[in-house]
């Protein structure tokens, strides 16, 4: 049960990260200005499918890696390293996740490699068809890998501890939870929220998101420490 808990918690943390959400918002902003609503809807749908598929594939890859290197059961040392990485990530998220600076008060710029954020930004502005939107979705998941790799690896290992019938279900559940904010954004835009309202909401709650993500990373580290290191070591 604790394994499933770790998978769900990791997915929730993935959902709290902002790159895919920001990219979808940018895609909406540029697409609504240029295309009819139907086209925009289909671009958003393709983008979300891309994010879902990449989350699914990355998690499945991590399941395989965990199985290949550790036989499906992580040693205590690996858990300890993961706990350390998660604790460090919680600090990094809290201190650096949103870019700081004079002009960043009203912005939600993220602390990602400049080349990645520029590339994603420029792609979101010129995305015109579904395959481009789908590829953009795949790309944004890659862009946030520095923050999410530990989550994917941990969840991949935990999925292997579940019974065989639940493994695929857990993979789908993880991918679905991690795209939930994108689905909520899509629903909000469909219900008439504008890009400005959504962006104002993001700016207004920037500190809260940062704090929440930081605390969740730390809590996950504590959870793994308690259930996998202390309990496993006894």
């Amino acid at each position: 049960m604790s394994s499933l808990g770790i998978v769900v918690f990791s997915a929730l943390i993935c959902a709290l990260l902002q790159l895919s959400l920001g990219t979808l918002l940018l895609l909406y902003h540029n697409s609504i200005g240029r295309h009819i609503r139907k086209k925009t809807k289909s671009l958003a749908g393709s983008f979300i499918s891309g994010v879902f598929l990449m989350n699914f594939l990355l998690l499945a890859t991590n399941c395989f890696l965990s199985y290949a290197f550790f036989g499906g059961e992580l040693p205590l040392l690996a858990f300890s390293v993961l706990v350390g990485i998660l604790a460090a990530l919680s600090l990094v998220i809290f201190c650096f996740y949103f870019r700081r600076g004079k002009t960043s008060k009203e912005s939600t710029e993220l602390w990602l490699p400049k080349s990645i954020s520029r590339f994603v930004d420029s792609r979101a502005k010129i995305t015109n068809n579904n395959s481009e939107a789908f590829a953009l979705g795949l790309l944004t998941v890659f862009g946030e890998l520095p923050f999410t790799f530990a989550l994917f690896f941990l969840s991949g290992s935990m999925i292997l501890e579940l019974s065989a019938g639940f493994e695929t279900l857990a993979l789908c559940l993880f991918s679905l939870i991690s795209v939930l904010p994108l689905l909520v954004l899509r629903l909000s835009v469909r219900r008439g929220k504008t890009v400005v309202e959504v962006q104002r909401f993001r700016v207004h709650n920037k500190f809260f998101f940062k704090l929440l993500a930081g605390i969740c990373f730390l809590s996950l580290a504590g959870f793994v420490f308690a259930f996998k290191i202390l309990q496993g070591g006894v």
Partner: protein, 83 residues
């Protein structure tokens, strides 16, 4: 003129603002009114100057937009700061 220098064209600014206003779902008529007033205001400001920087222009456009539509001004100011 060097590669970095460009000539300001009010039609380009109007087209950019038109795109932004469509993305906000502003009614076409009122958006055109706002765009007309903003481009006129910017052109008036430009009359006294020969050379300006891009950030000067953005600041003035944003100031003019603020007078007529706060949402449009907000999205114009923050269009490169979403991710």
């Amino acid at each position: 003129m060097s590669e970095l220098e460009t000539v300001f064209k009010s039609e380009d600014l109007a087209e950019e603002l038109r795109r932004e206003s469509r993305s906000l779902g502003l009614p076409a008529g009122s958006a055109e009114d706002v765009i007309k007033k903003v481009t006129e205001g910017v052109c008036l400001w430009l009359e006294e100057r020969n050379i300006i920087t891009k950030s000067d222009l953005e600041r003035v456009v944003s100031r003019e937009l603020d007078k007529y539509n706060a949402d449009l001004a907000y999205i114009y100011r923050n269009r490169d700061k979403i991710i």
